[in-house]
């Protein structure tokens, strides 16, 4: 039984089908890279899995249970969490407070209960993602790259079993990207299932166990990284023409 399954997920916005009949599974301790041109439905898939949107058709299963109608906070506590492509931290709170919220409310029952402990713990998580120096600053003072790291810290604070990471490498330097990918591989060894949306394919390939390619809302390829990026369907989606 897979940790998380999307079965026949479809989502329409008016006449436009952002996602069509997508079926995917996620296993613990794996990193899945989700690739595809802009508009292929990657963020929509994340929204459907994490609960920000309801599907027009299809179901989401978590550890065998159907959770399609569950609200986001419930899914978060169950162990699914995601970062937001457009970072939306709590601007007037400090970074520690931003992360502490997830510790207090999103982590499963054994999570921290008291605010001061949560703030302490939050500082540890923030230094893991490289934001140790900014722990007491307000979130509105961060740069784009730092915001992405904050998003990651906030998601990790909720002790996810499935972590959906939406374009976290955007705005990072090459060393920064390596650090983040290193962090994610460490999470993988702890058993977390990770799904990464990224455009920086070269950075992903050494790290990913599996690649799923989306195009116009459908899965067009799935499998080992080397195979997927060379498949004709994927090349056509990105480059627009069959490549001889």
């Amino acid at each position: 039984m897979a940790l998380c399954e999307a079965i026949g997920l479809t989502r329409r916005f008016g006449g436009n089908a952002a996602l069509q009949d997508v079926t995917l599974g996620f296993e613990p301790a794996t990193i899945v890279a989700l690739i595809g041109p802009n508009g292929s439905g990657k963020t929509t898939l994340f929204n459907l899995l994490a609960g920000q949107l309801r599907p027009s058709a299809g179901t989401v299963r978590w550890r065998g249970q159907e959770i399609t109608t569950w609200a986001p906070h419930r899914r978060c506590r169950a162990g699914i969490n995601r970062t937001f492509q457009v970072a939306q931290p709590f601007l007037d709170l400090t970074l520690a407070e931003n992360v502490a919220l997830g510790l207090l409310y999103g982590a499963p029952a054994e999570g921290t209960r008291q605010r001061p402990e949560a703030l302490e713990h939050a500082r540890d998580i923030l230094s893991d993602v490289g934001l140790a120096t900014k722990v007491a600053s307000a979130a509105r003072t961060l740069s784009l790259g730092e915001l992405k790291r904050l998003e990651l810290a906030m998601a990790v604070a909720t002790r996810p079993a499935l972590l959906l990471v939406d374009e976290v490498l955007a705005g990072q330097s090459p060393t920064g990207s390596q650090e983040i990918l290193g962090y994610l591989t460490r999470l993988r060894t702890q058993g977390v299932a990770i799904c990464l949306v990224e455009h920086r394919l070269q950075a992903l390939l050494p790290v990913a166990d599996r690649v799923v390619a989306l195009h116009q809302g459908r899965v067009i390829a799935e499998g080992r990284p080397e195979a997927v990026i060379k498949s004709p369907a994927v090349l056509e989606a990105y480059l627009g023409e069959p490549v001889a």
Partner: protein
């Protein structure tokens, strides 16, 4: 029944005219003008004056009545730049302050008499398609249709009208196309204000006018604008017809009070319905919550001042005795402090209540009824009443659902108004406008040594102090607990908070229940101190917004800010403004609100903190 339908439809066309000015101003300038109805009332007074003194028909008086309203509206344009974010919510608070000022001006100039224009022959019935309608109403409807048609032509066929629509759709885009948004603002304000004022004389021939009658037209304008959308006169007309029809049928079926309840209920439904689909920029602006947070300034000055204040508060009865009046002032200041503190709790989650009178009134009436009719001891009634108000807090959270920002505020306003109408008309239980009298007070101290020290009414005072201490203690605890963090997070990004595991609905329910508990307690105390309660004092709109004014004036970010604001404004009113003029309190509160929005974003304590930090230099 056909007459009710016809009457309703006819009134409905007038409603559309009534709403047109509001919709125009909101659409172009994004000002949510809560003083709209007061501009109508202003025009009504002008029209009534012209009719009484010179015999002018209301229709003739319209252009003249439009002028003062137009002037006021245009004169307010320079203030727009100082309103700050979130614009719509702050403009609601600002225009509410303006409304209070206008009302007090009207009260001073025209006195509080009821006025009505009764042009000869206007109630003469005319047969229209076999149904009898009042001739006067028909003229009003006809005038309204003509004006709406002209407006429609203006907006769609002239360049001028198109610039108005352009700015309301996309301000920056219109500027890039060469349209000056500032000029368009001025025109929209002039036109919108003028439409409101012009509708005044017609309004005065439909119903009695008093200085505080503005809330009616304002609510109608809000309902129709939310329903009809911003650029569309036909949308307003359709909404007006439907509203008039619904009200007419409700009044025919159930009697006059159901007219108001229907329109308020429709407003609530509309808010829920319109809130979920993202209706473009206007919808997004309406959903925005406020951006001020909480602060625990470590300034020693504040700590000392707070502690000093607490010591004075505990000893006041000793210091004030034997002057009962001083003790009474102190007690009432505590009651209002309690109300203001209770308001500030949901405000931390971005829930800006414009209907806190609902809790206050429920507490007051429940405690009154339980002790008067149920023969419970005042202490027990007070506790029970507070719990009942807390329960209503949960109900209010459910009714409001996922509403945020201005939508939520309007919903609370509607709920409080519904309760007021119920209290006014459910005479079997509440005795209607007469109110309940002879409510048992809290036990007095028996004459003797202790009473000599603190006065016989010290029980009232210490009961209030106890409740206030409990409220402040709760607030202090919340600010340190995870709940406080959750409230802040919800305010700054509810979706993100939910994704971090916060059950936003539950947190809001808790905030409103606790707020209701203490606000209801304040109401109950008030009832037992005055030993009398009536709908106007328990559920008035001013009372609803008073905690907002007091909390913001003191500085709602700070734990004791609302207490400070309440003490200053209440004492300022009782000792000073109330004596200057009968409507004096309106000047004070209106002025305080405007001052806060335009100049003191974090209230008095915010100003003090900025001064103190300035003197120390940047840390």
């Amino acid at each position: 029944m056909l007459e009710a339908i016809a009457g309703g439809l006819i009134t409905g066309t007038f409603y559309a005219l009534l709403a047109s000015g509001f919709a125009l101003i909101f659409g172009v300038t994004r000002i949510f003008n809560l003083a709209h109805g007061d501009l109508v009332v202003l025009g009504a007074y002008v029209g009534e004056h012209l009719w009484r003194v010179a015999g002018w028909s209301p229709i003739l008086a319209m252009p003249v009545a439009a002028l003062p309203a137009m002037g006021l509206a245009v004169a307010s344009r320079p203030l727009l730049a100082r309103v700050g974010e979130p614009f719509v919510l702050r403009s609601i608070v600002l225009t509410f302050g303006a409304s209070l000022l206008i009302q007090s001006g009207l009260q001073t100039t025209f006195t509080a008499d009821f006025r009505l224009i009764v042009p000869p022959g206007w109630d003469h019935g005319i047969s229209l398609l076999g149904v009898r309608v009042a001739g006067g109403r028909l003229s009003i409807a006809a005038t309204a249709l003509v004006i709406l048609a002209l407006l429609h032509l203006l907006l769609t066929r002239t360049f001028f009208g198109k610039s108005l629509r352009a700015v309301s759709l996309d301000r920056e885009g219109a500027a890039l196309a060469g349209i000056n948004p500032v000029w368009v603002d001025r025109v929209a304000l002039a036109l919108g204000g003028g439409l409101a004022g012009a509708a005044g004389p017609l309004f005065a021939s439909i119903q009695y006018v008093t200085p505080s009658a503005g809330i009616g037209p304002t609510l109608i304008a809000i309902i129709l604008t939310i329903f009809g959308g911003l650029g569309s006169m036909s949308g307003l007309l359709l909404g007006g017809l439907l509203l008039g029809l619904a009200e007419g049928l409700a009044a025919w079926a159930g009697g006059a009070p159901w007219r108001e309840i229907t329109s308020l209920g429709l407003l609530l439904l509309l808010l829920r319905w319109r809130e979920t689909p993202p209706t473009g920029r206007a919808g997004r602006l309406m959903r925005q919550g406020p951006s001020t947070g909480v602060r625990s300034p470590s300034l020693a000055t504040f700590r000392w001042a707070g502690t000093g204040g607490m010591i004075v508060a505990v000893l006041l009865p000793v210091l004030a005795a034997p002057r009962d009046y001083l003790l009474y002032l102190g007690t009432m200041a505590l009651v209002f402090s309690l109300l203001a503190e209770s308001w500030s709790l949901p405000a931390q989650a971005g829930l800006i209540s414009f209907g806190h009178a609902a809790f206050f009134g429920i507490g007051a009436y429940a405690s009154a009824l339980l002790s008067l009719r149920g023969h419970l001891s005042p202490w027990l009634s007070l506790i029970a009443a507070a719990l009942l108000a807390a329960l209503f807090g949960v109900v209010a959270a459910e009714v409001a659902g996922n509403l945020t920002g201005a939508y939520f505020s309007l919903a609370t306003l509607a709920m409080a108004e519904i309760l007021r109408v119920v209290a006014l008309h459910w005479t079997g239980v509440t005795e209607g406008a007469w109110g309940l009298v002879g409510i048992p007070g809290l036990p007095r101290l028996p004459a003797g040594g202790l009473a000599h020290l603190v006065g016989t009414r010290a029980t009232d005072y210490y009961a209030a102090l106890l409740l206030l201490a409990a409220m402040c203690g709760t607030q202090a605890w919340i600010r340190r607990a995870p709940l406080g963090l959750a409230l802040q997070a919800i305010r700054q990004g509810e979706a993100r908070a939910a994704a971090s595991g916060v059950d936003a609905r539950r947190v809001k329910r808790i905030a409103l229940a606790v707020s209701g508990l203490f606000a209801g307690g304040a109401g109950a105390l008030h009832a037992h101190i005055f030993q009398w309660v009536d709908p106007a004092s328990a559920f008035s709109l001013t009372l609803s917004v008073l905690p907002l004014i007091m909390a913001m004036f003191g500085g709602s970010r700070y734990l004791l800010g609302p207490v400070l604001g309440a003490v200053v404004l209440y004492l300022g009113n009782e000792l000073l403004f109330q004596r200057l003029a009968p409507g004096g309190h309106l000047w004070l509160y209106g002025g305080a609100v405007i001052l806060v929005i335009l100049a003191l974003p974090h209230g008095i304590l915010g100003w003090v903190e900025a001064r103190l930090e300035g003197r120390r230099g940047p840390v």
